[in-house]
């Protein structure tokens, strides 16, 4: 096969994959419920696909089950309950908030807070001692110079001043 044709076919493949088996309902609400439900239920064979996306036989069975239950007039909750009774919470892409899933739901928030705390301490450490807790850093004024001088830093400051002055001249 010529590479061009192969490439074209590969580009077209997503279209072929989209509608695995689309089902028609008389009632548009049922159609919508079917589409949301099948995209929220996990295919247990190919664990990273929803039953709407999967070609596995089990996914087809589960789609059939969802369709039949909708046609019998079952509610969304009843169908989700039916599935979790048989396959456990794992069948849901959005697991319910429970003690067991607490880490899953709260983990990201905990890590965000940990990160914020770390950032806070890093920033605080980088600020000169005299400005701790006062927010926006300013250039050292006379007061600070005096304070630094007391710490035996006068020489360094004098050198900085000299260098700055030289820079102005040239």
């Amino acid at each position: 096969m010529k590479p061009g044709i192969l490439m074209l076919l590969l580009l077209l493949s997503p279209f072929a994959a989209q509608a695995i088996d689309s089902r028609q309902f008389a009632n548009p609400e049922q159609q919508e419920a079917y589409e949301t439900l099948t995209s929220e239920l996990r295919c247990l064979v190919c664990q990273n696909q929803t039953i709407a996306d999967s070609n596995a036989e089990l996914a087809a069975d589960l789609r059939r089950q969802v369709q039949e239950m909708l046609e019998q007039g079952k509610s969304r909750e009843e169908i989700v309950q039916f599935m979790t009774d048989r396959y456990g919470d794992f069948v849901l892409y959005k697991p319910p908030f429970k003690l067991k899933t607490g880490l899953l739901w709260l983990g990201p928030i905990v890590f965000l807070l940990l990160g914020l705390v770390a950032v806070f301490f890093v920033i605080r450490q980088r600020q000169p001692r005299s400005q701790q807790g006062f927010g926006i850093p300013t250039l050292p004024g006379d007061k600070e110079v005096a304070a630094v001088t007391e710490n035996g830093q006068a020489e360094k400051l004098a050198k900085i001043r000299r260098l700055l002055d030289e820079g102005d001249v040239s």
Partner: protein
């Protein structure tokens, strides 16, 4: 000191979590059926399609429910283990012939031996769905009251029989019906 200790601690914590992750089996989904009544069924027998077997008929005995199919590769691996278990006559073994062609299934039992007291047919997979079957083979153990006490995903190996199934069966046989 802390400067070196902190990354080390972080590394160790991560290593521990990753090591646990390596040992997990994400394919084995815990069954919500555990310690619940076995899902009801009434299905035609594979070798006598005019007769039906219902879950209720098995009350009062400890029974194994093994999901199998002639198209299932790991079932072939498991089959001699089941044959061996059947010879010990420790437990009633019921087969669920899942989404299979009856002729192929019968042929399979004729050539490889039949460990099942009865096999029932589930050609469209509805019984399997009620039992939360997502891969074949799967094996359930029911007590005398018809409560699911154990589920095994994947082929049962000789080790599993010795360390899990036989002790559990002995325990359940000793329980009052």
């Amino acid at each position: 000191m802390l400067k070196y200790l902190l990354p080390l601690i972080l590394f160790i914590v991560m290593a521990i979590f990753l090591a646990i992750g390596l040992g997990l089996k994400p394919n084995e989904i815990p069954s919500p059926l555990l310690n619940k009544p076995a899902p009801a069924f009434a299905a035609p027998k594979l070798q006598a399609p005019n007769e039906k077997l219902a879950a209720a008929d098995l009350k009062g005995q400890v029974w194994l429910f093994n999901v199998w199919a002639s198209w299932c590769v790991s079932c072939r691996e498991e089959h001699p283990v089941l044959n061996q278990l059947a010879r010990q006559q420790a437990v009633v073994i019921i087969g669920l012939n899942y989404k299979d062609d009856p002729a192929a299934a019968k042929n399979w039992l004729d050539t490889l031996g039949n460990p099942y007291n009865v096999s029932i047919m589930d050609q469209d997979g509805r019984i399997g769905l009620d039992w939360g079957v997502y891969g074949v083979p799967e094996t359930f153990v029911m007590d005398k009251k018809g409560i699911v006490r154990y589920k095994h995903t994947g082929p049962v190996m000789p080790d599993d029989v010795q360390t899990i199934f036989l002790p559990l069966i002995a325990q359940l046989q000793a329980e009052a019906p």
